[in-house]
């Protein structure tokens, strides 16, 4: 039997990798890829807590499904933003979008 700690450590590692991707990549699409990894790590935790808690309580899985919906919405709007920005400024590099900087 696998102890709960393994899953939580795995999720924490996945979250950190996603965080690194979201903070360090220049391409906006790549940043969204990092965010996806972070959302997945959260889902692993939710399902693991469902399994190791009271199985009859489906809260963990329900939350995970809601996270799926949120992830879908986030990706849809995020990538649409990237495409929109690309059409206006002809770039997908986050650093080059400095209109709000001074």
């Amino acid at each position: 039997m696998i102890p709960l700690s393994w899953y939580l450590t795995f999720a924490a590692a996945l979250f950190s990798i996603g965080l690194f991707g979201a903070l360090s990549r220049r391409n906006m699409v790549a940043i969204l890829l990092g965010v996806e990894l972070m959302l997945n790590a959260v889902n692993v935790n939710l399902v693991a807590f469902w399994r190791y808690g009271d199985v009859a309580q489906m809260a963990g899985q329900v939350f995970a499904i809601i996270v799926f919906a949120v992830a879908a919405a986030e990706v849809a709007v995020g990538l649409a933003l990237v495409i929109s920005v690309y059409r206006r400024h002809n770039t997908v590099i986050a650093e080059e979008l400095d209109l709000m900087k001074w």
Binding site: M1, S16, S24, R25, A56, V75, I83
Partner: protein, 169 residues
Amino acid sequence: MTTEQIIFLIVAGATLASGLLVVTSRNLIHAALWLVATLFGVAIVYTLLNAGFMAVVQVVVYIGAIAILFIFAVMLTRKDMRDSGAQLNSNWWAGALMAVLTFGGLFAMLRTWGGMSKTAAEIPAGFDQIAELGAQLTSPEAYVLPFEVASVLLLAAMVGAVYLAFNKK
């Protein structure tokens, strides 16, 4: 070590390795394909957790739809096939530091928590997860409001994305 633990270690290792490749690949299509591998690994982890429905949903939603969306978006926003220039920004070391600190902090915090070494109880025989999920998603005492709000959220995402991707300059 039991067979299950060995399978978990292999899957987790492969998943984390492909996760690292997602955030370091120069070619964005490769990064998206490595994302698919990572998400598939997470789906296998769900099956190890006896959450078969979540595993299938993971494949259907992430690999079937989100990965395709990413690949389409990459194709729509690239000037040529080859990637030039740095893929990481100048502050990448700060990002790496943050990631390591987050992992270290989480790990240290989790170690001090009592419930860590908990093992799972057997799932009672005849327990139908999907039916239970359906019952709770539609029950007014449980999650019917999130169920309907999710629909509104998806509507908002669809309208917003259609508007953003298509507003003429």
